[in-house]
Amino acid sequence: MIKAILIFNNHGKPRLIRFYQYFAEDMQQQIIRETFHLVSKRDDNVCNFLEGGSLIGGSDYKLIYRHYATLYFVFCVDSSESELGILDLIQVFVETLDKCFENVCELDLIFHMDKVHYILQEVVMGGMVLETNMNEIVAQVELQNRMEKSEVQVWASI
């Protein structure tokens, strides 16, 4: 199970947070801060696993992250997930974002947090991996966007 997915930038500003277990808002912010603190002091050439922070998880949990340019993608997972598998999943997620936003950059995530959420929803659902095939994910996301567009047109034509 995935317990949480956090995306924040090099300064620790959250760009997307998705907890699959309830934490109150202030706790969520603390977790982001702690995770950022743990992750940001690591060099880029060290391994991408971290034995979980004190706030989130416990001994069974791991932080698995990837660092892309200005953004950190952090997944907090338990031992039922394969470490390398999750790393691949992060890659799939980011590539999907890249496809959907065409050359994704931090600004896309800043201004379209909702869309990023919708894409993520096609990858992970309720803490479990839903789909790993990028083409399938992109297809579903596009179909839904098209539906949204058609609704907007209907609305505009009234």
Partner: protein
């Protein structure tokens, strides 16, 4: 209306959308909080508008603010509004917001049930998808219970997109509502072989999660997974399955043996590192589970270790890390194969990556032996020096101590060396682990008697150089060590060379800057030292030294008497007074040493923390036995005391008495044991308490005086390295001696077998430098080992520990249905349940004709109802039992076939269909097959038969029943009118196959649908309810019940439970209730009560339905 929309859209042009909000926040970096608070005010205004587009926009912005840490739960109701929009665009926004901020404590969540149900059954797959995704994040036990069936249906949806989501969310439903696991499991299992790989992967995912928590229940799926493993090409699925096997193998070693080969093949063939790694992991798990039974898997171990070495040597840090992680698993069972890679692991200690260093440290912990401990620790000490001022250094420190102290100092051959290491560690600046070092010092000094002399000398130097430790003000962590040093010097002061000097060191004014608890120890131990000094000078008359010591204490102690710390103050003033008194005595030349020493007499022994718990019950003590005579079981025993008064021969009576007692007691003990075994409240003795644990004796270990030849050069800074050299020299010397001896022997036994001694010295060859007496923690004699099971009682997965293969007692089913019952019309039906009148008749009959058909009566139904609603056993929608049919003599087989309808459900989407679930249970000893189920259709209700079948054809039950087995089949009925209760006659025909013959048998039954069973509990809001009543479409009717003697809320609960109503509003002794039929009839009740009289005013758009429902309600209450 159109105007309103236009107006809304114009308003909207001036609203900020999400992008504007983000831009605004970025432009107000200086006063972000202020800006956001004005934005929130705007959002509040927007939420007040009727336009759903505006609301959705506002909710979208709130979702963003939630990410920034703002609590937006105040808008929960608006989120629900947006969720229920008919437009996908807005619905999606609503569900996203809900999934981000709803949780079990959100009260509006209960308003969403119907909306979610509607979305789940929407024709648009994305509406369903969005609802499933949202629900997966905020599902509560209530939602799970109410929606379990809807989601279960979606598992068979035509679109794989929905199927896979429905399958995944089932796991969340199981967690919140464990009862749903059993009915859903068969379908879940089916999905393992779904044609769509995504659905298959989802099913594997869910089962893996389930099995990880309760693996034993899923062992039976192993063959299926095995098949998947050998056939699937999806790496994700493979990884999950292989991980699952890792969890299953410990339970079933045979599975492990089967797995080795395909896994080895995968290891050789796959190019995906992730898959390779998981394969290696599972092979390790298999090997661990086999390690006891099958030693012949060295090839597999070698393969794993080899592959892991490749991973560790890889330049990719991730692989390196995982390699080390897996290595540590092998280490536990096959330490030898890992130890040969010590070089590699020590290399990893130099890695720049802290995670990797920590993993390598973990490995080292398991790799040490007597032989290499010193060497490894020396390496670690080097790293300690390098890693100044980091948390990693603290980690190193704890690891060094862990490594050395593991399994009761098993690997330490030279405790002088260990003490030196500890003393060296005290040089660390700013460590948090002073107390850890201190406790090690104390532990070693107390438990290793032979080392005390050396330890005390070291501690004395430490105390003398205490200023080095406390030099900087902010180095408070390490000064904990002084606590240990002071205590050791005091307690074992007889080993001190110069107690006077140490005493002086302990009373320096600087000590007053130490933390209070350390000062307190200083003061107390100063007193001990004082006693020692006195003792030393015992016998010398007018000893100058003794008097000087007293004076020293009297001079220095007042400093401590002034301490702000109460403990220090108290101890100091006590001791000060004592010393003053002693000084007086000394001046009178009185011998005091003896008395003063007596103050601190007695040896200290370590006691295990669990010692008290483990005190065994002495033999002959029976805690179950009565101390006095037990209260009599029979009348005659009661009268015994009288007999004593009646001048019986006392001696005789007593002896007879005891004789009886022994036999009686034995018998009673047996009876009592039986009783206790059956009494769930009696805490039984655990079976493990039978074993007897031999506390290792201490006496037989010889204690050898240590040779204190090692000179201490630097005060307080002994060099542990010397020991390494010494140790090597010592071992070489020993080896040489051994060789000599062996040579001698060989010379003596020339010609006999030759021993190869060129190999490396083995573990056993290493003898400790000093024979040390490691005092184990004291345990009571014959202590009983106890393994405390520390399972977390709050683990949600515990509830999912359900054995899915075993047939469950019915009550389990009923519990599940019982809950469903509230949601959907349910009919319980036990065709062979006799009313009491029939029972008697039947029993008589049975006596007469024993050969005849026997039927078991079951009362689960009653039990179930009494669980839920008091003692009544009224059944709604119960099917009337068949009158016992006159049975012909020809029935020679005793039949115990049983048929139960356990559930009749209306379908929301289809107003004319009802699903009836029937459980067939074979209670006979014969095999039943070719079962055919048939019902005589009425005009109104028809059994749905496959196309092409005639109107009277039977339906074949799709299974056979071996003896004692039960299974469930579902039949669909179409119902036209639901306004009247209905009865259907039916028959079940089947073939009974015994060893010799097979006969054709038949069972008749009747199926009874009550009107109540067509009602669906539907929540209704009071405003909607009021509108409904005002509309005037409903026709009224009323009912009066007399002599109802129950609390009002019980009455309401009963109506809700038995007749599927929900309470809309309740004011004092008056309540309005609502329900809806599957065909959409509204039924409204107004229930009032006063003085045992209940009046029900009812309204419904269908008068005859209402009449029947009221009759059924009346019946419910007439039976109580």
């Amino acid at each position: 209306m159109a105007l309103k929309i236009v107006k809304g859209s114009i308003d909207r042009m001036f609203d900020k959308n999400l992008q504007d909000l983000v831009r605004g926040i970025r432009n107000h970096k200086d006063d972000e909080a202020k800006y956001i608070s004005t934005c929130i005010d705007e959002i509040k205004q927007e939420l007040k508008q009727d336009n759903i587009a505006v609301k959705a926009n506002a909710v979208c912005k709130l979702t963003y603010l939630q990410m920034l840490g703002y609590d937006v739960s105040w808008a929960a109701f608006n989120i629900v509004e947006v969720m229920s929009s008919s437009k996908f665009t807005y619905k999606r926004i609503g569900y996203l917001a809900a999934s981000q901020c709803f949780h079990e404590g959100t009260d509006v969540i209960m308003l969403t049930t119907n909306q979610i149900r509607k979305d789940l059954s929407s024709p648009n797959q994305y509406d369903t998808g969005v609802a499933l995704t949202g629900l997966s994040c905020f599902v509560t036990p209530d939602l799970a219970r109410d929606l379990a069936n809807d989601i279960m249906t979606l598992m068979s949806h035509t679109k794989p997109y929905i199927r896979k989501k429905a399958v995944l969310i089932m796991y969340k439903v199981f967690l919140k509502y464990p009862e749903s696991l059993r009915p859903a499991f068969p379908r879940l299992k089916e999905k393992l072989e779904d044609p769509d790989p995504g659905v298959q992967s989802a099913a594997v995912n869910v089962i893996c999660e389930l099995a990880r928590r309760n693996p034993k229940n899923y062992l039976s799926l192993a063959p299926l997974f095995f098949k998947l493993m050998t056939s699937s090409t999806n790496n994700w699925v493979l990884i999950k399955i292989i991980k699952l096997f890792g969890a299953l193998t410990p339970l079933e070693p045979r599975l492990g043996k089967k797995l080795i080969e395909p896994l080895t093949n995968l290891i050789h063939s796959t190019s995906a590192m992730s898959l390779l790694y998981e394969c290696v992991n599972t092979v390790i798990a298999v090997l661990i589970s086999l390690s006891s039974g099958m030693p012949n898997h060295s090839a597999s171990i070698q393969l794993c270790v080899q592959k892991l070495r490749i991973l560790i040597e890889d330049s990719d840090q991730n692989l390196k890390y995982l390699g080390l992680l897996a290595m540590s698993k092998i280490l536990k069972t096959h330490p030898k194969s890992v130890q040969s890679h010590k070089d590699l692991i020590l290399q990893c200690l130099d890695d720049k990556d802290e995670s990797i260093r920590l993993r390598a440290l973990d490995l080292l912990y398991g790799m040490v032996s007597k032989k290499n401990l010193m060497e490894i620790v020396k390496k670690l000490m080097l790293h300690v020096d390098k890693a100044e001022g980091t948390t990693y250094r603290d980690e190193l420190l704890t690891k060094i101590i862990d490594i050395c102290s593991q399994s009761n100092f098993q690997y330490i051959t030279n405790f002088e060396w260990y003490i030196s290491i500890l003393v060296e560690l005290t040089r660390l600046e700013g460590t948090r682990h002073g107390h850890l070092i201190a406790s090690q010092m104390l532990d070693v000094a107390i438990r290793v008697k032979a080392i005390r002399g050396f330890a005390v000398a070291q501690m004395a130097t430490l105390l003398d150089n205490a200023h080095l430790l406390t030099g900087n003000t902010q180095r408070n962590g390490i000064c904990e060590v002084l606590y240990a040093a002071a205590w050791i010097c005091g307690e074992f002061s007889e080993h001190l060379e110069d107690p006077m000097q140490t005493l002086e060191a302990m009373l320096r004014p600087k000590v007053a800057t130490l933390p209070g608890h350390i000062q307190a120890v200083y003061v107390q131990n100063a007193a001990k030292l004082f006693a020692t000094v006195l003792r030393k000078h015992d016998g010398e008359t007018e000893s100058q030294a003794a008097q000087e010591t007293s004076q020293l204490l009297i001079d220095r102690l007042p400093l401590f008497v002034q301490s702000a710390n109460l403990e220090v103050q108290e101890r100091a003033s006590c001791i000060l007074q004592l010393v003053k008194y002693i000084q007086k005595l000394q001046q009178k030349n009185v011998e005091v040493a003896e008395e003063v020493t007596a103050l601190f007499a007695g040896e200290l022994n370590p006691v295990a923390p669990k010692a008290q718990k483990k005190v065994p019950i002495p033999e002959g003590l029976d805690l179950d036995a009565w101390i006095n005579e037990p209260p009599s079981e029979s009348e005659s025993e009661d009268e015994k005391p009288k007999a004593v008064f009646a001048k019986e021969e006392p001696k005789h009576s007593r002896s007879r008495h005891t004789e009886v007692d022994e036999k009686e007691l034995a018998r009673r003990r047996e009876v009592r044991k039986q009783e206790q075994a059956n009494n769930p409240f009696y805490i039984k003795a655990s079976p493990s308490s039978q074993k007897v644990y031999d506390a290792p004796g201490v006496e037989h270990i010889p204690v050898v005086q240590i040779d204190l030849s090692v000179p201490l050069k630097v005060p307080g800074m002994p060099m542990s390295d010397q020991y390494l050299k010494l140790e090597v020299e010592r071992r070489q010397k020993e080896k040489a001696e051994r060789k000599k001896k062996e040579k001698k022997k060989k010379r003596e036994k020339r010609g006999k077998e030759r021993k190869a001694d060129s190999g490396p010295e083995s573990e056993e060859d290493i003898t400790p430098a000093h024979q040390v007496d490691i005092v184990t923690e004291e345990m009571p004699e014959n202590a009983l080992p106890s393994d405390d099971d520390d399972k977390d009682p709050n683990d949600p997965h515990k509830a999912l520990d359900i054995d899915l293969d075993k047939y469950v007692p019915y009550c389990r089913h009923l519990q599940f249905i019982h809950v469903l019952h509230i949601i959907k019309p349910t009919v319980y039906w036990f065709p062979f349940q006799k009313s009491s009148k029939h029972k008697k008749k039947k029993q008589k009959k049975e006596k007469e004709e024993k050969e005849k058909k026997k039927k078991k009566r079951h009362h689960h139904h009653h039990q179930h109802h009494s669980d839920a609603g008091g003692e009544d056993s009224v059944q709604n929608g119960t099917v009337e039992e068949e009158e016992p049919l006159p049975v012909s003599q020809s029935h020679s087989v005793s039949l115990k076939q049983e048929v139960k309808v356990y559930d009749i459900q209306g379908n929301h989407q289809d107003e004319s269909k009802v699903v009836v679930s029937v459980i067939f249970e074979n209670k006979s000893d014969s095999f039943l097959k070719s079962m055919e189920f048939n019902v005589l259709d009425s005009l109104n209700s028809k059994l749905q038969r496959p196309e092409g079948a005639g109107a009277h054809d039977s339906l074949t039950v799709p299974f056979q029943l071996p003896p004692g087995v039960s299974n469930e089949a579902r039949f669909v009925f179409s119902v036209q009118s639901i306004i009247m209760p209905q009865k259907l006659k039916g028959t079940l025909t089947f073939i009974v196959k015994s060893d010799e013959s097979s006969t054709h048998e038949k069972l008749d039954f009747k199926l009874h649908f009550t009107c109540t069973s067509y009602l669906i509990t539907t929540p209704c809001y009071s405003d909607a309810y009021a509108k409904l009543l005002e509309s005037g479409d409903l026709k009224g009717s009323s009912l009066r019940l007399e002599g109802i003697n129950m609390p009002f809320h019980h009455l309401l609960a009963r109506i809700c439970f038995h007749h599927h109503f929900s309470v809309v509003e309740r004011i004092d002794s008056c309540a309005s209730m609502y329900s809806r039929s599957i065909q959409g009839h509204h039924v409204c009740l107004l229930v009032k009560t006063s003085d045992q009289t209940v009046s029900i005013d009812a309204k419904c758009d269908e008068p005859s339905l209402l009449g029947n429902v009221l009759d059924e309600i009346k019946q419910t209450f007439s039976k109580c």
